[in-house]
């Protein structure tokens, strides 16, 4: 591969002048510049980042650690949103001329130290760790002069992090359901130990409380387990129980869109029509599911893309030496209102359907 010296010789100038042309730096005569540019184009010269980095000490690289790649298309849809975070990061980094190195954990946390080491060898200017769902993580030691941002996760060390606003999200969705006239709102949660479940349940209750609706524990059930079959049975049992209540729910809120997909099949098999007999809402705005289901699913977006974007911006500001925020940055997404939820004929208070919760139609 051609070097700056080859170009210099071909153009009849010194290597330093070629370097100046490359970087548009310092005064260079018009004719000299043209000669250099011609020579570069003629020999297909591409500068070596490695050589440049040696002296200037700026790699232009950021590292992203994720399980997005290895968890994609596994039965759980969590891997996909994770990927959207990476997309958000990518978008911002590309704008700023940074190159992204992606390392995949292969879904095993013990590979992380090696991945970090690889990044450090390449002298990345910063690191982003992306988790597959809202949770706590523990990172290996990273030199403190390398900025780190956590996306979709947090740690005990208080590392800068971006998190989804699960509490406010569920609250927005339930508030919207209440505005549509629903009073008996069931909540089929994800696994109970998850941060998301804790926060969303709090949001669910806050929305009820704000509307003066008493909380009925019989309406809240965990419907997620690690085994797909057991989960189907769990969901089945929950639906049976809920629909036989003296005052059955008018809407079933699912922990995520995938659960809603499963729920559709179960409701169909027992002859319950959506949304005529009961409404269904999801969580995530997993578009392959939400838009393709029949009827299309009302849900709330987790704004993973925005989370990635914010994480990237935050990392870049840390790289510039700016101060880190002292609290987690919370990101919210809009409600997507589709035909899986019907409006009950109740007076609608416009103040409860604010613009932040009013969604676009996909």
């Amino acid at each position: 591969m051609a070097t700056i010296y080859d170009v210099a010789a071909a153009a009849g100038v010194s290597p330093k002048t070629v370097s100046r042309v490359l970087n548009g730096e310092g005064p260079v005569g018009r004719k000299t510049r043209e000669a250099v540019e011609t020579a570069m184009a003629g020999m297909g010269y591409v500068p070596s980042n490695a050589a440049r980095m040696m002296r200037s000490n700026r790699s232009g690289l950021v590292g992203v650690i994720t399980g997005a790649i290895s968890t994609a298309d596994e039965a759980r849809p969590t891997g996909l949103p994770e990927l959207v975070i990476v997309q958000g990061i990518q978008r911002v980094m590309a704008e700023r001329g940074m190159t992204m190195m992606i390392a995949d954990t292969g879904d095993r946390s013990d590979t992380v130290p090696a991945l970090v080491e690889t990044f450090l060898r390449h002298r990345v200017e910063g690191l982003i760790y992306v988790a597959e769902y809202h949770r706590k993580v523990t990172l290996p030691a990273i030199p403190k002069d390398t900025p780190v941002v956590l996306a979709n996760c947090y740690d005990d060390a208080g590392t800068t992090c971006i998190l989804p606003d699960d509490e406010q999200g569920q609250r927005d969705l339930v508030t919207r359901l209440i505005a549509a006239g629903h009073r008996r709102i069931a909540y089929l949660t994800l696994m109970s130990h998850l941060d998301a479940t804790r926060l969303r349940t709090a949001g669910y209750r806050a929305a009820l409380e704000a509307a003066g609706i008493a909380h009925d524990p019989a309406l809240v059930t965990c419907c997620e387990t690690t085994s797909p079959e057991a989960e189907t049975r769990l969901l089945h049992a929950a639906v049976e129980r809920l629909m036989r209540l003296p005052e059955p729910p008018t809407v079933l809120c699912c922990g995520n869109d995938k659960m809603a997909l499963k729920l559709y099949g179960i409701l169909r098999s027992r002859g319950t029509r959506v949304p005529d007999d009961v409404s269904v809402a999801g969580y995530d705005n997993h578009r392959v599911i939400a838009e393709t289901l029949y009827p299309p699913l009302s849900t709330i977006e987790l704004a993973y893309g925005a989370m990635g974007g914010r994480a990237a911006e935050l990392l870049l500001s840390l790289i510039r030496g700016e101060a880190a925020p002292d609290a987690p940055v919370l990101v919210r997404g809009p409600v997507y209102w589709r035909s899986s939820v019907t409006a009950l004929g109740t007076t609608l208070d416009p103040s409860t359907t604010s613009s932040t919760t009013g969604g676009h139609n996909g």
Copy 2:
């Protein structure tokens, strides 16, 4: 960040000796090695890949160009399989100690030249281009000493490529349906200009022909368009027409799993039960859909992961200077037999359900 000189000074040896310890190269005395290792650990030394590369000219980097990241979670599920290809590449590259740089096209082909340039600046040892679906591509000029492999696509220049065996795949699936007693097999295709559609239709006909079943053009319809609503209408109309035929089909083969998901909703709305009234088969084994649908979907896997793995292995062999295969490498996946297809009470010829088409149950 500490350098090899700092380590050398701390250990009381020369930089070259530190280099030897790093690379486990040449004879180094036990006590010397230990002193160096202690010094390295003590100061958290991490070697600079850039510096190493200057002299040895091996970057240990491979570039992957894809739209996987930006197309993920868009309504079309094509972006997801693409990602599985990347996963396959990643798995093999990680095994071989290569670091993967991923560049995303942002779904616009005009960004590709810039991405290639970025990779060349980093002196990648090879490039893989991953397409979102089986199709022809045109790459920008790439120095011929940099090996390139195309995954899920091909070009006019005869660049080394890995392709899904669409024809054989559809043939395997239809052969399996025939073995289950089906004779009237409808095929709802993807858009007609796609390579996949052309090849799979050929495979569909080949399977019929091999079984001595006459091809009925009334059973084959294109059911994909660019607009989701128009597509739903198209699918609706196709189902109406097919089910009113004098001799209606006993199974509906969909162009992909997403179409099958849509079809489930349409069949439900007209009171047609799956698989009691009609069987349904997909294509892709898009697990989020195929396993979660009720009843679970019979489908055939495109083996995207395997394609990625083969692409990576092929690239590594090209990097080693081995010769390229002179024809596209075709990759097949297994049939996944789930409960969306019922067996009709016909004699089953065991010879038609070979081990290559017999699928696992997910």
